[in-house]
Symmetry: C2
Subunit: 147 residues, 2 copies
Amino acid sequence: MAEFDRLTSRYNSWIKALQDNGYRLTQPRLAVIKVLAQSDQALDASTLHEKASEEYPALSLVSVYRTLEKMEDLHLVTRVHRNEHCHAFVAGLEGHQHLMICEQCGKVYYFSGDDIHGLIEKVEAFSGYQVTDHWLQLFGRCPECIS
Amino acid sequence: MAEFDRLTSRYNSWIKALQDNGYRLTQPRLAVIKVLAQSDQALDASTLHEKASEEYPALSLVSVYRTLEKMEDLHLVTRVHRNEHCHAFVAGLEGHQHLMICEQCGKVYYFSGDDIHGLIEKVEAFSGYQVTDHWLQLFGRCPECIS
DNA sequence: CCTTTTATTGAAAATGATTTTCAATAAGAT
DNA sequence: ATCTTATTGAAAATCATTTTCAATAAAAGG
């Protein structure tokens, strides 16, 4: 299936990125990135630890934090915020810049937001600010959680 | 000055909102909301505590948290997120829905974002999600911090 | 005013998430 | 096969936030 391939190739490209940057391919690390690469949901450190422990039972929560830190440095994962539960991670935004999160199950949908460039320029003109970054997140219900 | 009036009237309307909702006007509370109402920057609990302590030295950090909680319940303040420093508060979004934050000094600029409704509808159609909320934040440099 | 009621307070303890320390281990180079 | 050193897990430390609780002070009623 196309979906399977996409997620597997993400896992493989992350492995390559780790190697290319001189990081060792350890079992704890591989367990963590495998889960995150193959998930389409935003996951926090502790949920990730839970899931990756099935893969590698000796896994410590500390290693989850450490792996996330490195993945974030390499821009492979992105931190997302919600009002309540605040630190979750998703596979990084490669090209497509924005995301929508299902409030119920955390499932993420990526979309491109070229439409807001005009808005940004307008706001820059009015405010005198220089915009360096923008952050657009939509929240709602995914098709499965609606029904 | 118009700016002074705007911030002072925000302070007064917050006082009224607290009274209308049966909250007592205590010194700790007044010190906290005075600082936040009259600030145009996103402030976190500890910075707020620092500043409000000048107003009322006996102020405890606990009271800052408790006051923020109530203000949030009353929708008088809004929680904002940045990648690093994650929980800061600004005066609530009354009507205008979006904000831009200066990365350097935290100064907030509000703007309306009607322009993204079209985008949201498009994303809904493609994804099958039902969008219930959206979150647009711009980051950059305010005029003072550019020069 | 003065008293009374009770929401609110600050200090201290508890919690929860994240980070640091450190000796032991295992990845990958030689 | 051995060596080097990045990486590990456990435990301790740190940091933000919340809870507990007895003392206080707002504001309502006399």
